[in-house]
Amino acid sequence: MLEVPMLEVRDLHAGYGAFGVLHGIDMVVGAGEIVAVLGANGAGKTTLNRALSALIQPSAGAIMFEGRNITHAGYDTVVQAGLIQVPEGRKIFPNLSVRDNLLLGAFLRGRANRARNLARVFDIFPRLGERLGQLAGSMSGGEQQMLAIGRGLMAEPRLLILDEPSLGLSPVLTEELFALIGQLNAAGLAILLVEQNVVQSLAIAQRAYVIEHGVVALHGPAADLADDPRLRTAYLGLA
């Protein structure tokens, strides 16, 4: 790869206090790519996301975003740089209206184009446009997921991290969600897709990393990994 990758993670160690979860993760996301991060529960996927968004401080290693070292940056600096995460469990603001949730997506970044981006989000999710005044907490799980993604898009992400976006969605909604991820990517957005949904993630991603016990157990082009017998082993933790 000649040009500087969008995101480069080198030998990342992170955890909670003395409890280490990540033991040296190396990972690259190029511009315009969908990269899937797979792994069983407890493998360290969400810890990786929390470290990337600077919600926890890495104990060692480096995170470079568009050539800039953000390893020890504050989470607001990371947002300002355009690394936006749609977290597991959505974490929308339940006591705020749909409109206020979306507006807060542009609290720090994307403020100048807020009106235009709002219109774009309603274009992508017409349902949100119909429910502008509704309290976010009173919406269904699928609608809340749309809102969480919409809120993330309001910040004009350069790289969007999606953490378990299909969690709790019906198969039909999950299919729609993956189609949407494909559309966003086709429009040029780089996406780091963290999922338990292995088959669909590998179908949509260009490359994938499989994390096991806090290290990268496998990585490569998504099409190759889909056929790799080691995927099953790593994923299911079978010896």
């Binding site: 968004s53 919600l55 989470y75 607001d76 990371v78 947002v79 300002q80 936006i84 995460q85 977290p87 959505r90 974490k91 929308i92 603001f93 339940p94 006591n95 705020l96 206020d100 507006l103 807060l104 997506g105 609290f107 720090l108 970044r109 309290l135 809120r151 910040a155």
Partner: protein, 288 residues
Amino acid sequence: MAEIYAAALINGLLIGGVYALVALGLTLIYGVLHIVNFAHGSLLMVAMFAAWLMAEKAGVHPYAALPVVALAMFALGWLLYRYVIGRVSRGEDRAILLATLGVAVVLDNVFLTLFGGDTRQIESDLTFAVIEAGPLLLSVPKVIAFAVSLLLAGALWAFMALTDTGRAIRAVAKEPEGARLMGIRPERIFALAYGIGIGCLGAAGCLLLPSFFVSPHVGNVFVLVAFTIVVLGGMGSFPGAVVGGLLIGVTESLGGLWLGESLGPIGISLVFIAVLLFRPTGLFGAAR
């Protein structure tokens, strides 16, 4: 007889306006941020002393001093949250409760040491000024306090509903991690909102001074009533704080008329219980 009731009603409304003024800051701090602010009464006392000192030592009328006192109280509130309450509590409810209680104990006793337990008041043309409305006499300072509490409630509502900072204040209280992912720093927003709530007390102190005595214990008169109003009106609702304040003021006034001074306040508890029976989230509280 009807005139006595009318007078009690009007007087209750005016006192209620004053209560609402104190409750507005609390509905932001307790209702929105869920900080049990035991220091609320003590900080009102500090604001009243600040206004009293400016009137007594510098000859500045409390109404003229209002912007300065409100700003100074905002700064005090911000500093208190940033360096005491936020640090001690680390987001734990029990610790917040103890921190604000500690602040109250310290403030009460510092002012008791500095000023003694005497009650003080300012000499002002306004203190006994009244407007004659037919057979009724309306105390001018209370009419002004009433009007300002309505204005302030409107301003706070607009700030919370229409500005990004207001949205962020509502957001961080429920979902701090979601807020961080938008680049919002919850601890900054909390300090700012706490400062705004205490700044409202600065305004309240200046508006109360022409018609109330100041002493280191003056906060006790208001703090329990203010908590009652916040819950009665609906946590975090500014219209609720105003309507709740007026309801409590009228109840207290009519209760005193019917049941006498000592038994009268029971009316407040009865109204409180009745409202919560039928509307558990308060008059203007959002359904959960």
